[in-house]
Amino acid sequence: MELSCLQENLSKGLSIVGRAVPSRTTMPILRNVLLATDHGQLKLAATNLELGIVHWVGARVETDGAVTIPARNFIDLVNSLPAEQIALVVDEESQTLRLTCGSVKASFRGIDAEEFPVIPEPQDGAEMAVEAGDLRQALSQVTFAASGDESHKVLTGVLAEFEGQTLTLASADGFRLSVREIPLLHPIPQPLSVIIPARAMAELARIIGTQEEPVEISTTQPHNQVLFKLQDTVLNTQLIDGKYPDYRRIIPQEHTITVVVGRAELLQACKRAEIFARDATNIVKLAIGDGELTVEADSAEMGRGSTRLEANVEGPELEIAFNVRFLIDVLSAINTPQVVLELTTPTNPGVIKGVGDESFLHVVMPMHLGR
């Protein structure tokens, strides 16, 4: 293998695939990143067997070939190089990669590319596609609500339901539920529903970045994996086996109180309240009165703080308590100027939506102060 590419491109590519390199593993090969020539490009790949990322970098390929190189060291070196041409030559005999960049010369002992796990690649003519912007926003609104508790595997994932013209993403951790719908670019004939690890979704959101092109989604049913094809990158992840709870039952069908309030103001009030609610429980009280909403936190040790917000309130007065972290999470993810809270009693779940945005909804369970 012999090729040259720009340091900038290689560095960016490595930072994308490097996220899939496991920090702890018993398989030495997984600590390596795969470098291979592919249709006149340099293909970079890394995997931890659950999550795999492949990225293509523009390159001038002289001769084809492949090798795997210890990822950490290679990434560190490439990042330290000047923004110039990098020449990479692999000595197939010794599996050694020699790198030249300006006055810098380096060589790495590699492992045979044959030993690297096969990372599935999407077939041509992907089944499903969504707008990158939609997906990016949907991920930011849904992923945070997934559970971190490994003992309930399905809840650590994001449910993705493809049906007709719509992809519905949902996640829940036992106390809150986020649901977001985004349009599919082409209708699909067969409904499909998979559970994707939230960690992989967070990675996907990061890689999508500012990309504009549609994201193609496909599954490899026999392998039980899902693939997201971006412009120069493919992310694939194992799916979580199991049955996701029927979240639709949890969404309250009616409410007696509607509060419309500025999103940024409410978020700011919650962050202020968090200062006082920062003990283990993060409890804040929302007092809903005539035309106003007061966000209040009280700490036995520190003191108390409250913010009164003007709000458009319909319905009776109410005091209800929530975990302020949950409120901050969801308010940060909504991007309409105003939000609406739909409430019933201090013990019934609350619903939070963006005003004028029917595609997203969040359900959060209240807290109770004992005695």
Partner: protein
């Protein structure tokens, strides 16, 4: 059978059965008489465990010649005049029964000289009847020789144990009084051998050393005087063992009320409760607790032997004892044996020297020194100043932070222990025990303040348990609700969990309930109402705490150590095992031969 009045000697012997149970009770009555007589020196001598001889000699005020005979009549006493006096008894004795009872079951020689008379009296009695009386020269005070105890009560004699056992009972009694009355010189001889000798200089520590030996005596912590409530002064003093000292039974818990040794299950429990979570399971503390309260607040006229008392405000006394003991124990803690308080200021040093010079009066040694400038003892085993409030009260954060020095995490050993560095050496922290302590205190303190926030579940979780577990869980449901966990029966052996305590919202409900239901019956019922919730909290904390074998990140370790520094009792887990071990720099240097 006709009914008739019993002859006096028979009645006396029956009454004697209540007061004089064994030689130790004779010693008790005689020693209490001597103390009431204002003695400062007491000699006690026994032979064959008190069966053949008990001799008690004091330098008290003695008995006037004219009253000696009367002293041996039943219901004759100098300590009480009217029935009102019973309401505020200041003397140890008052019933006027002891001497008469003892005399009726033994041969007694009483030799005495009243302080204001120049001639003494010797009176001999057998079976309660005077057999001889003579006048003689005698130093001030009284000597009673009790010979052939129970010679006329074969039934009782048969039940006496071996001389060694009876000696043990006598010693158990006298040693306690020797500590409670450090201003009195006690000398105890058994069969010609000196068993105990206290100096009577008023130094309690000295008496402790004489009784318990150097190691135990030195390790005991002094309870500084505290008052439970200003309008009801209950003073609790004494000495308690640190958490590193424990015994297999409650026998080392001694209670004195108004100078009287009493046995009271509830107060004993208060002491044990004060060590709650600080001692290993099924181990009991060493404690010597002296309670002083106005005589009218306590009724000692409950039992002829007067080892039982009734308090008018039992709960106040219970709380006062528990607070004082716990405060003392917590202010010091096991690993603190090597963690020195900051060096005393110059003023404190002066106080300390003054205190050393001043012969401490045991009656009121502490209240006269204001808490703020009380000398800080330099020896690590003595209790630091008692600024630390009792546990149920809110402790100022500064006082709490004092408990552990600031630690820097060095790393983790064998995925079980955290290695940390402090200003004075190396600290090893058991990650599981430490986390248990943190969770436990967070929860219990929230629960004590009465506001455990609970987090409702998006969807109730159904938990099904084995039938017998379910039956055990059912009675716990109300307690669980006060802890913020709303659980409802859901038919059969199933339960519906609707909310979790906010502190534990990451817990798995199925697992929690299964843990709680498992073998709750092995928990002994306790007189304290709060116990059930604490037990639940303890169990849940055990389950939720990080386990040994769990790899912790640097941040997690830092957090754990910071949180541990914030706890009130950082040095033991809720089950009483240590959380932290310290190796001082000196120890390290010594090991390396530097």
């Amino acid at each position: 059978m006709t009914i008739r009045l019993l002859p006096e000697d028979v009645a006396a012997r029956i009454a004697a059965g209540e007061v004089v149970e064994r030689p130790a009770s004779v010693v008790k009555e005689l020693v209490e008489n001597s103390l009431d007589a204002g003695a400062t020196r007491l000699e006690i001598e026994t032979r064959t465990g008190g069966q053949s001889l008990i001799r008690v000699r004091d330098n008290g005020q003695g008995i006037p010649q004219a009253e000696v005979t009367l002293a041996f009549r039943r219901h004759a006493t100098s300590k009480l005049e009217t029935a009102q006096d019973l309401e505020r008894i200041r003397t140890l004795g008052f019933r006027g029964e002891a001497l008469a009872s003892i005399a009726s079951v033994s041969r007694v020689t009483c030799t005495t000289r009243y302080t204001e008379e120049s001639v003494g009296t010797r009176l001999r009695l057998e079976g309660g009847k005077v057999v001889s009386r003579q006048s003689l020269g005698w130093p001030q005070g009284t000597e009673l020789r009790i010979e052939d105890l129970f010679y006329n009560v074969p039934a009782r004699r048969k039940f006496l144990r071996a001389a060694r056992t009876e000696r043990k009972h006598i010693d158990a009694f006298i040693t306690r009084y020797a500590i409670a009355y450090p201003q009195i010189a006690f000398s105890v001889m058994h069969d010609g051998r000196q068993m105990l000798l206290t100096a009577g200089r008023g130094d309690v520590r000295e008496a402790l050393l004489a009784v318990y030996g150097t190691d135990l005596g030195n390790s005991l912590l002094e309870i500084p005087a505290v008052f439970a409530e200003p309008e009801l002064p209950i003073q609790v003093r004494g000495y308690v063992g640190p958490t590193t000292v424990h015994r297999a039974n409650r026998g080392y818990i001694t209670l004195f009320v108004n100078g009287r040794w009493i046995q009271d299950l509830r107060l004993t429990y208060a002491v044990i409760q004060a060590y709650h979570t600080l001692l290993p399971v099924k181990r009991y503390p060493v404690a010597f607790v002296i309670i002083t309260l106005p005589p009218e607040e306590v009724d000692v006229n409950v039992h002829p032997a007067k080892t039982e008392v009734r308090f008018h405000n039992g709960d106040d006394v219970f709380r006062a004892v528990q607070r004082a003991v716990r405060g003392t124990v917590i202010a010091e803690a096991p690993a603190a044996a090597t963690w020195q308080a900051p060096p005393p200021t110059a003023q404190q040093v002066v106080h300390q020297r003054l205190a050393a010079l001043r012969p401490a009066s045991p009656q009121a040694p502490l209240p006269e020194i204001a808490p703020a400038d009380r000398p800080r003892p330099s020896q690590p085993h003595t209790a630091p100043a008692f600024e630390a409030a009792p546990p149920s009260e809110s402790v100022p954060p500064q006082a709490r932070a004092r408990r552990l020095p600031p630690l820097r995490v060095v790393g983790q050993v064998s995925t079980m222990f955290i290695v940390a560095e402090g200003p004075d050496g190396l600290y090893l922290i058991d990650q599981h025990a430490a986390h248990e302590r943190i969770l436990y205190e967070q929860m219990v303190s929230a629960w004590r303040q009465g506001d455990i926030p609970s987090q409702a579940l998006l969807e109730p979780v159904v938990v099904t348990l084995p039938a017998d577990d379910a039956a055990r869980l059912e009675p716990l449901l109300p307690a669980l609700q006060t802890l913020g966990m709303l659980v409802e029966p859901f038919g059969g052996a199933s339960f519906l969990v609707r909310s979790l305590p906010a502190h534990w919202r990451d817990a798995d409900p199925q697992m929690l309930l299964a843990d709680l239901a498992a073998n709750t019956e092995t928990q002994a019922p306790s007189p304290v109402r709060l116990e059930l919730e604490e037990m639940i909290v303890r169990r849940i904390c055990k389950r939720l705490a990080v386990k040994g074998g769990q790899v912790l990140s640097r941040e997690e370790m830092d957090r754990l150590v910071r949180d541990l520094e914030q706890t009130e009792n950082p040095r033991t887990c809720p089950h009483g095992r240590p959380t932290i071990i310290q190796i001082s720099l000196e120890q390290l240097a010594h090991q390396f031969g530097r």
